[in-house]
Symmetry: C2
Subunit: 216 residues, 2 copies
């Protein structure tokens, strides 16, 4: 059973949000056959302070060795455990438009051992093929999720459709929602939701542009 140390230990959200990036950099070190690294080097690579890196990691346990540094593979595996990305989750995509196709084709599913086991939509899109799956009608979503022990629901519907589906999503026997729709889904509070708001990131880019040196 996967352990939840982070909530138990009361880790700040700021720390959690840095873990995926640490994990990615460690993965690249591994790919380059680098088996040992110290906080100063890794911090420099990543553009953070060594202090912050050590402080962050030490919240979860003692993963390094004084006088030596960190074993890359060991640290990589610990962060994997903390993030819970090695649990062989099963996912379903709801929304078979361009975003649905894009997510289905994203290598991250394979890379993180997440098994895509169905694609749903309604209307004309039912019967189309997305990443080898025949698009099924949303009306069958509940039964499918129960029968196939679906963990993650990926929402790639347009904003309004997604918002309208919220009450149904709330009742689904799933563990979490990966929401690309831009809608603020009002689900039952105990269902973890990760929003990926494309629009917000565009606004942030616009702001970076306007506040960059070019404009001063």
């Amino acid at each position: 059973m996967p352990q939840n140390d982070s909530k138990k230990l009361n880790i700040p959200q700021a720390v959690i949000s840095r873990l995926p990036r640490y994990y990615r950099f460690l993965g690249e070190l591994l790919r380059d056959d680098i088996f040992r690294i110290n906080s100063a080097e890794l911090a420099k690579m990543m553009g953070v302070t060594a202090s912050q890196l050590r402080q962050d990691l030490s919240r979860f346990g003692e993963f390094g060795l004084r006088g030596y540094g960190y074993n890359v593979k060991y640290l990589y595996d610990r962060i994997s455990e903390i993030l819970g990305i090695t649990n062989n989750y099963r996912a379903v995509i709801v929304g078979a438009g361009d975003s649905g196709n894009a997510i289905a084709a994203n290598p991250v599913f394979m890379k993180r051992s997440i098994r895509l086991c169905g694609v749903f939509d309604s209307g004309d899109r039912v019967g189309m093929t997305v990443a080898g799956h025949t698009v099924a009608d949303i009306s069958g979503l509940f039964d499918f999720c129960s029968a196939n022990e679906v963990d993650i629901l990926v929402i790639t519907l347009p904003k309004n459709d997604a918002a309208a589906l919220a009450p149904i999503i709330s009742e689904l026997p799933i563990k979490g929602v990966w929401n690309f729709s831009g809608a603020e889904l009002n689900l039952k509070p105990d269902i973890p939701v990760q929003n990926v708001d494309i629009e917000d990131t565009l606004m942030m880019l616009c702001h970076k542009i306007v506040s960059s040196d070019q404009y001063r």
Copy 2:
């Protein structure tokens, strides 16, 4: 000429990152014909404190009226100005695969008056059609960006291709990069980059799942 108040005024990144969401909520109020709102109501809608809302806004100026609240349209326009999303930017997509198609079809371009003026890729994809644009070869990217005064480069190439393209991107006459590739582009430091790292958000979702009540 668009003014950059935020860098000048030294606004914390945390505040900036909340503006897009404020903006979206105000947009919805407008659509619902609500012309006036006070900080307590808006804060409640958004799940933040009224104090934070007022504190955040007051960094940029006095947008409210004591005893009255905020005029929704006025506040909406001010945030639009601060974010610089009303500058009629011109964008080009590099990468005509599924992600490229998905972004090209995303309503956010239309919604934020960003004009897509070209799609680029290499190999077999050259000559295909994406959102009404014939995919051109990346070799013509520089000349196209110069001739068409492209502001925003949207990168939807696979990670490795994007990383390989970084030196070329650095030299392009553009204002900012919206990067969906998952690569950490090492561009010249004065080019604003907004990364949208899908993989990281999946890891965050996994962590939320593992640390949710279901596992305790």
